[in-house]
Every structure is written in C-alpha cells, then in structure tokens.
C-alpha cells in the first residue's frame, strides 16, 4: 500500500526541500573547490598561523624551613633571530654594541653558536635594565627582540650546590627522549641534583598560544590560548644554616689538615677533597650533605666562561668539582667498618664480647702460607690485653684481623658473615636517596673478586694473587680495606641504623613536592620515612659494642687499664657528660698515585659519629681525602658539626614519633672483671652471670665446644 493523496503531495514537497538544500550545498562546494580554488590554495600556502609555546615558570627548591635555594629572576635579554637579521647583520651588531655595551665579538660568537637551534632566536646579551630594553625596542632592528625572561638563580650560591644541582643546556638526546612534552632546543633543563631528578615536577607543563602572524612574523592577533601549568616547589629536608656550617667546617678541617705533615711521606697532606653527611637517625632525613671542592651553580646556568670552565674542570688540585662525593665518592671504609665486623663476629660466634684478647701488634695467619701471612697494626702499635669494647675504642686492627680470619675459617655460609652483615646495613646497594647518579659501592666476596680480576687482569693479577677468596681477603675486609668500597652516605646510614636500634631507612633528602603558593601550598607528593629493612640486634652484645663506640671519644678506665679512644683528643674539650657522642674513626689506605703531586696517595681520614649517645638523634659522617688520621683530621670536623647541631636543633620541631625500637643506654650490664683475672692470659673468658656469658666455641682450641671457664685458662 502506498501513501496517496494529501500525504503523497506533502512527501513530494519534502523531497523538493531535500533537493533544494542539497543544491545549495553542491553550489557552494562547486564554488569553493572549483571556481575559487586558486585563491584558497594561495591562502593555504601562506597560512600564517603559528603555534607558540608559553613556557611554564619553573618551581623553586626550598630547604626545610622554606629558605629558597633555587629561584627564578627576570632579566632583560636581547635576542637576535639569525633567519631574519640577514644582510643587516653588521649594522645590527654595531647598534647593539652601542646600546648594550656588550662586546661585538662576543655577541657575534653567540649569534653563530653552532650548538643552538638554527631556527630559534639566540640570546646575545643579558642582564639589561628596563631603560636599555626600551631603547633597543624603539630602534626596531630586524630580527632583534628585547624582553624580560626568567633565568634560574641560586641565592645560596655554592652552599648545597651538589644537592640542588643546576640547570643548563640540554644534553644530547634529551629532546628525543622527551618528545611531545613541549621542550625546545634552547630550553634549560636540570642537569644535576634535585634539578635533574625532579625536572618533571619543577618544570610544569608549557601552554600553547595559537596566533596569526604577518610576513615579518609579528603577531597580529591571538586565536586561542591554553595557559601553562607552572612547576611545583620541591622542599628539601636539609637545613641551610646547618648546611652552611657543615660546608664551612669541612673546608676548615681540610685547610687544617693541609698544614700537617704526613709521617708517611714527610710532606704536607694534600687534603683537597672531602664529604660530610648529617642524617636524622629517627626518620632517615638528611639534614646536610656537603661535598668539597664545590662550585656555584649560578656559573653554569648560562654556560661557563672559559675562566670558570678551567676552574671547574681543569683545576688539578680540585678534581671532580661537580661530583657529589657524598653519594658518588667511593672510599674504603677503613676502621669504621669494624662495627660490621664486630656484629658479624658476634653472630657467627667467633667473638666473646668480654673475652680477653692480647694485641701483640700483628696477626699471623695460622699454618704455612709463605710470605704475606703477617698482618700488622697501623704503625705496628702493640696494644696489649683488651676486650671487644676496648678493641673498638682503640681501634685494634689485630683484634679484627683475628675476627676476620676466624670467620673465614667457619664452615658453610657462616664464612660470609661479614658480607651478609654489610649488605644488611646497606653497603653495596643504592640507599635510594632522591638524588641522581648515586653509586652503590662494593661488598666483595669470591664472586665479586673473580669478576673484578677477570675484567682487569692487568691491574689485579700483577702479584701472586689468587682469584679465590683467601684468608687475607677476609682479614682486609674485616678492617674495611681491600676490595670494599662505599659512599659517605652509605656509612652514615649504616651508623644511623645502628644508632636507632636497627631500622634502616632509605634516606630522604626531599620532604615533599608542593604547589607554588606561599599561603597554603597543596602537597603533591609527600615523602614520609621510608623503611627499607629492620635489623635484629637481639642476638649480639649491643651494650659492649655501644660501650666501645662511646669510648672512642673519651678516655676511660676499663678492666684492662686506661682505654684512650682514637678520637679522644678531638673531643677533649667536648662536654661529653651533657651531650655524649659515640663514633668510630677510620684511617683508610688509598691506592694509587696523586697525579697532580706525583706522589703516592695519603690516607683517607674518616669519622662517623652519632649522638647524643643515650638517645641518638643525629648521625654525622666526615670523610677527607688524603688528610691523614681519622681521629686527627675528621673527628674535629664532626665535633664542630655537632656543636652546630646542638645550637640549631633548638629551632627544629620534634619529628613525628616512629614506632622504633629505642636503643639501650650504654651501661655495662656485665660486672667488672676482677683485677685478679686480668693477667690470666685466657684467650676466651666469659664471667658468670653476664648476659653474654654463654661460653663460645673458638676455632683451633682443643676444648672446642667446651672451653674452660677457668680464669687461669690455657696459655696465651
């Protein structure tokens, strides 16, 4: 059935409407695409629409109290577009020289910089005032633009330079790796430190402005705009006042060391470099981190002048100025590693904490092993009888040589007790701090040694070395020498872990990332305390080790006579009653030659301390390259830093309470050893009633497993 009559007529009318409307469309498209196409093709070819990126304002870097470490300032700059200046180049440069006072040659060099984006305007002069900018704008020189542009500025100059980092020209490959994020070739990007790692947060997101331009690329009108999103502020955990004090004390300590004569070479110590770290042991926050020699990041923002370039890169007496030695310097731990050995030895059952050990100035590897079996104390000092606590305070090498050997001789996996303990404390792996290019150091074992020897046989296989893990390797490792390397931050964090009772944090140097508002910033990322591991110290003689570490900074009477701590000289005038400090010195032999001075390297001085001893709050490490004894060179610097800490911590709020195990106060729970027993010469002696009084088996004694408790014991 078909619709007829009236409906049919009406449908026909609708059909007419359809045809009419489509005729209009056909007519119009015929006009556009056939009749007028030439005109439109010209318009398409000269379409003068440009997309202009609006750069976001880079976020600031602040210290824990809001002091600005990195900011932006607006400076007057003159840019010249090389594609537009053309034949008038000479005239433009002449006029600009008159107007800005900048040297013509320098401006020409900047204009011809082959590294810059060939189509982007180049900055030829900067730091101009408003008046000059207006004068330049009035001249209307071809391709010349005068404007205010943001420039990164570091108001604290060299302080905290290694932490804050700097922005600079884009490295090769950066643009390709960040496609689609709106970077242009001339952008300054974070190259080191926080500026580098937090580039994305600090930078923000650029906006886009769509504009119509005339033939001279002058903007006629704005067609649309998407505003930029400015970068976030990064708030650090460091306190800039403490940071300044730490850097100053480190530099002064190195200067003092340079005025001392090395007993090894009878020459002045070079003492050209060092690092210092201050960590809050309660939450893993880094309060200060210094590296010497240092630099001013403001130098690097616009690229280095040749003088500054030489100073930064070619100064033979300040090698690696840009390196953050606190996280990138790899040092042997030296005697500071004895804490690890003490714990490993106690766990493995080769140390009897109150047991008497006779230090004769050296340790002989038992059995026939040809030459190189005798390991001497530093300076061949003979220290006499001691227990674990005294061995730590006085830093007896022989005691720990013996421990290292005994551990090596253990059967099975216990042989690797030192390495296992070291890894538990975070040696050999990144700490996870929010800084780029952190080094992880090395905890050596047979596998590491094999790989090392196979990769560099020319270096390592010169003597009669063997690739297997021999007693000498473990003995060297026991006092932090040999193949062991670590960063100052790892050492600080290890002692912080010990001081807070076993909680190992991933150290935080960034507290939070927040929006840039002065009143009520919105927190974007909050770095709370990050616990990487919890160590169990219940099975080791913590009191004895703590007593030993506390004894490092003082002179005390023990069952074995007066124990003069290795840093007692540096802490002689320190108020150890009110603010007791524990710690450990280290004097690490450095391999190789000092190239600038053409003589063997001097020892590296280390000191790591924590305090107050009874309820530790801060761990402080100072490492000074080629500066001699840890107790003489590094310990005074740590003492000075604690002095600053005592003053500054008055201003700080108590950190949030974390449910950590609180360390026990250092009071010997073992009874005083009767004087009559002192000359017994027992190698192993454990008094009755002592919590560590379980008799321990000792390798190589006939009464293995059941040592005689007799005071007069077997000979020794």
């Amino acid at each position: 059935m078909t619709q007829g009559g009236s409906t049919g007529v009406r449908l026909a009318f609708l059909g007419v409407v359809v045809v009419a409307l489509f005729s209009a469309l056909f007519a119009r498209i015929w006009y556009l695409q056939v009749l007028a196409t030439d005109e439109y093709q010209v318009q398409a070819a000269t379409n003068r629409v440009r997309l202009i990126s609006i750069p976001p304002i880079r976020g600031r870097i602040l210290d824990r109290n809001g002091v600005v470490l990195a900011d932006n300032e607006f400076v007057g700059v003159v840019t010249v577009d090389p594609t537009q200046v053309g034949a008038e180049r000479d005239r433009v440069l002449d006029e600009l020289e008159l107007l800005t006072g900048e040297s013509r040659d320098l401006m020409a060099a900047r204009l011809d910089d082959p590294a810059a984006d060939p189509f982007a305007p180049r900055t030829v002069a900067a730091g101009l005032d408003e008046n000059t900018l207006e004068l330049i704008a009035e001249r209307a020189l071809p391709g010349v633009k005068a404007s205010f542009e943001p420039r990164r500025v570091y108001p604290q100059k060299a302080f905290a330079a290694h932490v804050v980092g700097y922005v600079g020209a884009m490295p090769e490959g950066f643009l390709e790796a960040h496609r689609g994020q709106g970077y242009t070739l001339n952008d300054r990007v974070g190259r080191a430190g926080i500026e580098d790692l937090f580039e994305e947060e600090l930078r923000g997101r650029p906006g886009v402005r769509k504009v119509e331009v005339d033939r001279q690329n002058r903007v006629l009108r704005i067609l649309g705009e998407e505003p930029p999103q400015n970068g976030y502020d990064v708030v650090l955990t460091i306190d800039i006042e403490l940071q300044q004090a730490v850097e100053a004390y480190l530099a002064l300590g190195l200067r003092d060391a340079r005025q001392k004569i090395s007993p090894d070479s009878d020459l002045f110590f070079p003492a050209y470099a060092g690092a210092a770290v201050v960590e809050d042991v309660r939450n893993g926050q880094i309060l200060a981190m210094a590296s010497y020699p240092t630099f001013d990041p403001n130098w690097l923002v616009d690229g280095l002048s040749s003088d500054l370039y030489d100073l930064t890169f070619n100064d033979p007496f300040s090698p690696g100025r840009l390196n953050n030695r606190a996280i990138q310097g790899l040092y042997p731990a030296g005697s500071t590693f004895k804490l690890v050995t003490a714990i490993a030895g106690s766990r493995a059952g080769v140390i009897s904490p109150r047991g008497r050990y006779e230090d004769v100035g050296y340790f002989d590897v038992p059995g026939d092993c040809g030459t190189g079996c005798r390991f001497n104390n530093a300076g061949k000092a003979i220290m006499g009888p001691m227990d674990l606590s005294t061995a730590i305070s006085r830093s007896s090498d022989a005691y720990f040589y013996s421990t290292g050997y005994k551990i090596w001789a253990l059967p099975g996996e216990n042989q690797w007790a030192i390495q296992d303990t070291a890894r538990q404390f975070g040696f050999g792996s990144d700490t996870g701090i929010q800084l780029p290019f952190e080094k992880s150091g090395r905890v050596p074992d047979d596998e590491v040694k094999r790989v090392l020897f196979e990769s560099r046989p020319d270096v390592y296989l010169t003597e009669d070395n063997v690739v297997t893990w021999v007693p000498g390797d473990n003995i060297n490792l026991a006092i932090g020498q040999g193949f062991l390397t670590m960063t100052p931050l790892q050492l600080t964090n290890a002692y912080a872990t010990w001081a807070n009772g076993g909680t190992r944090f991933a150290p935080n140097i960034v507290d939070r990332v927040q929006t840039r508002e002065d009143a009520e910033p919105e927190i974007v990322t909050d770095f709370g305390p990050r616990i990487t591991d919890v160590l169990d110290f219940s099975d080791i003689p913590r009191d004895v080790i703590n007593e030993g570490l506390a004894g490092v900074t003082r002179v005390r009477r023990t069952a074995y006579g007066v124990a003069r701590g290795t840093a007692s000289g540096a802490f002689e005038l320190w108020d150890n009653a009110a603010y007791p400090i524990s710690g450990k010195t280290g004097t690490a032999q450095a391999e190789g030659i000092n190239k600038a001075l053409a003589r063997p390297k001097e020892d590296t001085a280390l000191f790591v301390g924590y305090g107050p001893t009874n309820d530790p709050r801060y761990a402080v490490t100072v490492i000074m390259e080629e500066a001699g004894f840890g107790g003489d060179a590094a310990a005074p610097v740590v003492r000075n830093i604690f002095d600053a800490l005592r003053r500054l911590e008055q201003n700080w709020a108590e950190p949030e309470d974390l449910p950590l195990e609180t360390p026990q106060p250092v009071t010997a729970t073992c009874p005083e050893i009767p004087r009559t027993l002192l000359h017994g010469g027992a190698e192993v002696f454990v008094p009755e009633g002592c919590p560590y009084g379980t008799p321990l088996p000792v390798i190589g004694t006939p009464s293995d497993g059941e040592p005689a408790p007799s005071p007069a014991g077997s000979g020794g």
């Binding site: 409906t7 449908l11 609708l14 059909g15 469309l25 498209i29 056939v34 629409v49």
Partner: protein, 385 residues
C-alpha cells in the same frame, strides 16, 4: 546450481522487502569516516607521542557496534514501538529531567550521564522517543491536522525541547525542532499554520539574539552567539569562530578538483582546522580527496540515503510508519545540511556532528539505529499482525 533447500518465504516475510542499498551506503560512508578520522588525528597524536591509530581504532569499534545496533533495530517490529509510545515518551521526559540534576557538564552543556567507561546522552536516544511519540499521536489525525491537534503535537515536542534548552545543548534542540517541523508538515498541518509557525520561530530567534536588550538577560553565552553569527559577517577579522570558519573554507578550497591526497592535506596536517575529527571532518575529505573523489561522491551518497528514505516513507504500510521515517529523514537532512553548510560557511557554527563521519560513539550509533528503523518500516510494509 542446486537449490535443494531454498528457504521458503511467504509474500509477507519482511526479509523479502529489505532495502539493502540503504545500510550498504551507510556502512561505506562510515568506513570512509574511519579513514578520515585517522587522517585528521594521526599527525597530532604522533607529535604528542601517542598511538597514531587511537581515534581511527575507536571509530572503527563504534562503527562495528553501530552495525550491530542497526541489525537489532531492523529486526524488532517497529509497530511494537507505537503501542508503547506513552511509556517511551514518559521515559524520555524522566531521563532528560534526571540529566539536568545528575548529569555531567561537558563544555558548558549538562547533557551527559557519566557511566563506567562511557557517557550516555539521553537527548540522543530521545530523538527516537520523540519521533515515535509524535508519529503515534499525529497519525491519529489521519493526514488532516486541525488547530487543537497541531497545538497538542507542538506541546508534546515543546516539553523535551525546553528541557534540552535548559541543558544548554542548543544544537540538539535545533535537531528536535527540525524533526518536529518535518513530521508536522507530512502529518497534515495546514500550510497557513506552518507559515505562522515559521514566523513565530523567526521572532523567537530574534528575541534570543537580542535578549540582552529586550529582557535584560542574555539567553545565549557570548561564545555561542559569536559562533552562531560568524557566518553572517565573514569579512570580520575577529575572534575564534571566524578563524574556524576561515580555516575550514581554506581547507575545502585548497582541495580543488582532485584533492591533495590522503594524509597530505596541509591544513589537516598542521591541525589548523579545529575539532577536525568531529564537527569539521568534512574539511579533511574536501582537502585531501578534492571535489571529484571526495565532496561530490559524499554529497551524492547523502542525497541517495535521503531519497531512499523518502521512498521508504512513501511505501510504508501505514501513516505511523511514514511519519517515523519522515522523522528520521528530517533529522538526517537537518544534521547533514547544517554540518556541511557550516564547514562551507553558509550556515552558523553549531556543534552538530556529520552522521556516519564525525568521531563519536553516540553520533555513530544513533545514525545506524535510525537507518535500521527505516529498513524496519520499509520491510514490513506488507506485514500482517
């Protein structure tokens, strides 16, 4: 050839009277649409480091879903819809009112429900509800509408239209108006009434544009007003709307007779035409494929679709079916004319998508469902209850 088990069809089987050309042309146009979606977006996606196929793949999925929906709408007897037209109309009103309260605001229009994974625009589906309800009511007049019937029909349409106006979705409201006009014309409204209605409509438009002077309050936003009037004064050099219009015409014009080649249009690649994968998709066709291979065949395809719909309306078994098809036809006619006219600079700029071509799930699925409905009506012209 052996026809051992040829299906036995009765004379009344709907399958015998299916108009296959209508869905085939619709699918062909939408396949072109997928290619043009790719052409309009790949450059920007690549620049932003995204997946260059993102929009094209999405559109292809929409087309597949759309074809499925078309099959479903073609199978279900359309006369069932007529029986439930009251419930359908009520559902339309409730969902339109609900979206005003619970809806999500997109570019100033509060017209979407946010559902997990996609957005639902009740006004899209509502087009069918309005068509069915209006067809059911108007078919009672049997081709001769008196004034009360006309008034009631207008009221029937006015309520959802006011709700959509309140949602700030002017484009969809205009489509509703076009549907109502087309249906009332065919349903038997007198010519004098239609003339009067047109005059009233013109007055309303004038009132809306000058509302700030007459009522003291702007009924349209500034941007809306600028977009709607930009085509009247194309020499003006001001504003975003005129920019859109210029770039769109440059794109079409520079395509010329044979086009610049697929993926080679400079206007398209430089992303100079805004919203090119949605409202301005035709500019990509015009620029890259030209008059002979792009604009002309596409216009002819749309004209063909309209003519098949007119035929279906004429052939429908009853006035209700005719009016349903006329509603769909009016919808397509208005959308196509408005969208193409806008890109060519002879109609105001509104956010109305081009059926089967513009990127978007709602638009594609509605278009295919409408084709399914037309096929449905035509195939059942001899069907018995």
């Amino acid at each position: 050839m052996l026809h051992t088990s040829a299906p036995r069809r009765t004379l009344h089987s709907p399958l015998r009277y299916v108009d296959w050309t209508l869905p085939l042309v619709a699918v062909a146009v939408s396949v072109l649409g997928v290619f043009m979606n790719y052409s309009a977006t790949w450059r920007l996606l690549e620049f932003n480091g995204g997946d260059v196929l993102f929009f094209a793949r999405r559109q292809a999925i929409f087309v597949v879903i759309g074809v499925g929906v078309m099959v479903l709408t073609a199978l279900l007897d359309y006369r069932v819809l007529g029986e439930f037209h009251r419930q359908i109309y009520l559902g339309l009103l409730i969902s339109l009112a609900a979206v005003l309260v619970f809806g999500r605001e997109v570019q100033g229009a509060r017209a979407w429900f946010q559902l997990p994974g996609f957005q639902l625009q009740p006004a899209e589906l509502g087009k069918f509800a309005l068509i069915v309800a209006l067809a059911a009511y108007a078919s009672r007049s049997e081709g001769e509408m008196d004034l009360p019937a006309l008034f009631n029909s207008l009221m029937l349409a006015a309520v959802p239209m006011v709700l959509i106006f309140l949602e700030n979705d002017i484009g969809t409201m205009l489509i509703y108006a076009a549907i109502v006009m087309g249906m009332l014309l065919v349903a038997g409204a007198r010519v004098s009434h239609i003339v009067v209605l047109t005059i009233i409509g013109a007055l309303v438009v004038l009132l809306v544009f000058n509302s700030s002077r007459l009522v003291g309050r702007d009924l349209l936003g500034e941007r809306q007003q600028e977009r709607l009037t930009a085509f009247l004064d194309q020499s003006s050099n001001q504003g975003q709307a005129n920019y859109n219009l210029n770039q769109s015409q440059i794109a079409l014009g520079s395509g010329g007779l044979t086009g610049q080649g697929w993926l080679k249009g400079t206007q398209t690649n430089l992303n100079l035409v805004p919203e090119q994968e949605t409202d301005f998709i035709f500019t990509a066709v015009g620029e890259e494929l030209g008059f002979l291979f792009g604009s002309l065949p596409l216009l002819l395809a749309y004209l063909f679709l309209m003519s098949r719909m007119l035929a279906a309306a004429r052939l429908a078994g009853e006035l209700f079916g005719t009016l349903v098809v006329v509603g769909v036809l009016s919808m397509f006619l208005f959308q196509t004319f408005e969208n193409l006219g806008m890109t060519m600079g002879i109609m105001p700029i509104t956010g109305i998508p081009l059926p089967f071509m513009s990127h978007g799930g709602s638009s594609i699925i509605t278009a295919f469902a409408a084709v399914g409905l037309v096929v449905n009506v035509r195939s059942r012209r001899f069907a018995r209850d």
